[in-house]
Amino acid sequence: MQESLSNPRPSSSPSGLAMRWSNFQRRYAPYIFISPFFILFLIFGLYPSLFSLYISFQSWTPSDGWGHWKFVGLGNYAFTLTDPMFWRSMWNTVWLGVFSGIPQHLIAIPLAFVIHMVLSRFKTFVTAVYFLPYITSSVAIALIFNTLFATHNGVINLIIAHLHTWPVLGWLLPDQNINWFISANIKYALALVVVWQFTGWNTLLYLSAIQAIPKDLYEAAAVDGASRIQQFRYITLPLLRPMMFFAVSLTIIGNMQLFEQPFVLLNGGASTATPGGQTAAMYMYRTAFEWLDMGTAASIAWILFAFIGILTYLNNLIFGRTARGGD
């Protein structure tokens, strides 16, 4: 560095034009460097969103031709909000959000604690195994589970039939093959798939938060005679709150837009179980690409957007404050 300071290279000695270019690129470099994101966002993010807001007040199907839409005011919104199929899909979404969301965290938190406490050498390996489903294509997962959920001789039904012969546990389980692909049952199948796919991701999040907790806290508690379970209850859990807030937020946003798993398990809407398992995102998709009603589909997207916004806000209000209150 010293050398270069005392001995400037001749190329940097100013001629007028080069000097001006040098100043120009220095001054505007950061703006140029960050501009691709903003250009792409304006074209492919913001503009289409605003356009879809516009189209949500129009009646339009692609075969009408570009530009040949008809203003219908709040008609699309009124249609959506009075459509029983929409409310059914919203109910499915919320049901799935709860029953595929809560178990993920109830399993992941203790699991991460056990991994942290019990393992040392194999910690990365075991976490990686649990993490595998997260990096796997949702379509692949749904196709695999499609075979596993088969009514006759499907692996999952055979396991349930076997567990039925066990004491106690058997009483809780039905003694007949379950047809997972009927409206009443498909939600349970979907919830199971989603829990299987995302528990590992949450485990990884919680594990990384647990590893950040200082060891001397546990040591001090152990000296005071706290058991492992007490340590979990009074040290780990309270200190995990910020991560819980983060992980739960991700789960809410993810679960409210569940699409690929139900889309594939319901065969794109062709399944007889569709009414019971169709999520709001899937209903929006079908409105646009099956019934080609772009205006109504856009209105569904905006209603869903508002709904997710409210949920995120409530999560912030209830969970966020206490999560941050600890610091």
């Binding site: 993010g45 289409p48 189209i55 570009w66 406490m117 019990v118 195994v129 294509s137 990384s208 998709y285």
Partner: protein, 282 residues
């Protein structure tokens, strides 16, 4: 003395219970992958026979033949790879460049602009599906791969990751010294910064490639012909027909999943650390 013994015993039991729990959970996690590979080597009648096959059969080749016959399999494989490759390469360049811009310069509106980048992360992606389709339809990019990789060139996640890494890894003095040496701003990025952030580029590349490889919702909407579809989308179309060839579908699924399993086996630690680094620091 007795107290201590009991403590040791209970801790041993807890440990044992922990191992059993972890092994059981691990088996449940791995089982569907195992069945995928097993079913890929079995005929349809065997997959749903009693008992279901627990070990590999000899029909992988015939399943593969069915696959080739019903869908343009290798074409779809190439499409998937091409899309993932283009998204990854462009993301690495534009996100590291923007991350460098946000990390190493003081400029007007910097915090606000970075706030905008982060705010776009909160927009639920699926809600953009219909507007995005309408735009692509409007500009006539339906059935062209660029419709899928151009918009994905500079994602917010990548910019955030790169900025965090550059702030921590690159001393400002180094950048200043390069400037005094006569480097232009872009040369500083290209010659000084890029070589120093290789580990972060590796992680971002992995994450981006995996995400792009698994893309479904938008590909499904934009790519309307069999020749332009990616593997996840084209595999799904096999499901629609009557007499679904589940053996062939599982063979295709296995070929879709296998490369990622391989990549993950080689770089699991790096990937998991990369994915959680943003979450932990905040």
């Amino acid at each position: 003395m007795r107290e201590q013994k009991r403590g040791a015993l209970s801790s041993l039991l807890l440990r044992l219970g922990g191992y059993i729990l972890l092994i059981l959970g691990g088996l449940l996690t791995v089982a569907p992958f195992y069945f995928m590979f097993v079913f890929a080597t079995q005929q349809r009648s065997e997959i749903f026979g009693f008992p279901p096959p627990l070990w590999f059969g000899e029909h992988f080749w015939s399943n593969y033949q069915i696959l080739l016959q019903k869908i343009p399999f290798w074409r779809a494989y190439w499409n998937t790879f091409y899309l993932a490759f283009m998204i990854t390469i462009t993301t690495l360049f534009f996100c590291s460049l923007a991350g460098f811009g946000f990390a190493m310069y003081n400029f007007r509106w910097r915090e606000q602009l970075f706030g905008v980048v982060l705010a776009t992360l909160l927009i639920p992606a699926i809600l953009n599906l219909i507007p995005f389709y309408l735009l692509i339809y409007q500009i006539g990019w339906i059935n062209t791969p660029k419709a899928l990789w151009v918009p994905a060139m500079a994602g917010a996640v990548g910019i955030f990751m790169m900025r965090q890494y550059i702030v921590a890894a690159i001393p400002k003095e180094l950048v200043d010294a390069a400037r005094i040496d006569g480097c232009s701003e872009f040369q500083i990025y290209w010659r000084i910064v890029l070589p120093l952030i290789r580990p972060a580029l590796g992680t971002l590349g992995l994450i981006t490639f995996i995400g792009a490889w698994n893309k479904f919702a938008d590909v499904n909407v934009i790519m309307r012909t069999q020749e332009t579809k990616t593997l996840p989308v084209v595999l799904r179309t096999l499901q629609g027909a009557t007499d679904v060839e589940w053996g062939a579908i599982m063979a295709g699924t296995a070929l879709l999943v296998a490369p990622l399993l391989l990549v993950f086996a080689l770089a699991a630690r790096q990937l998991m650390e990369g994915l959680t680094s943003g979450a932990v620091k905040n």
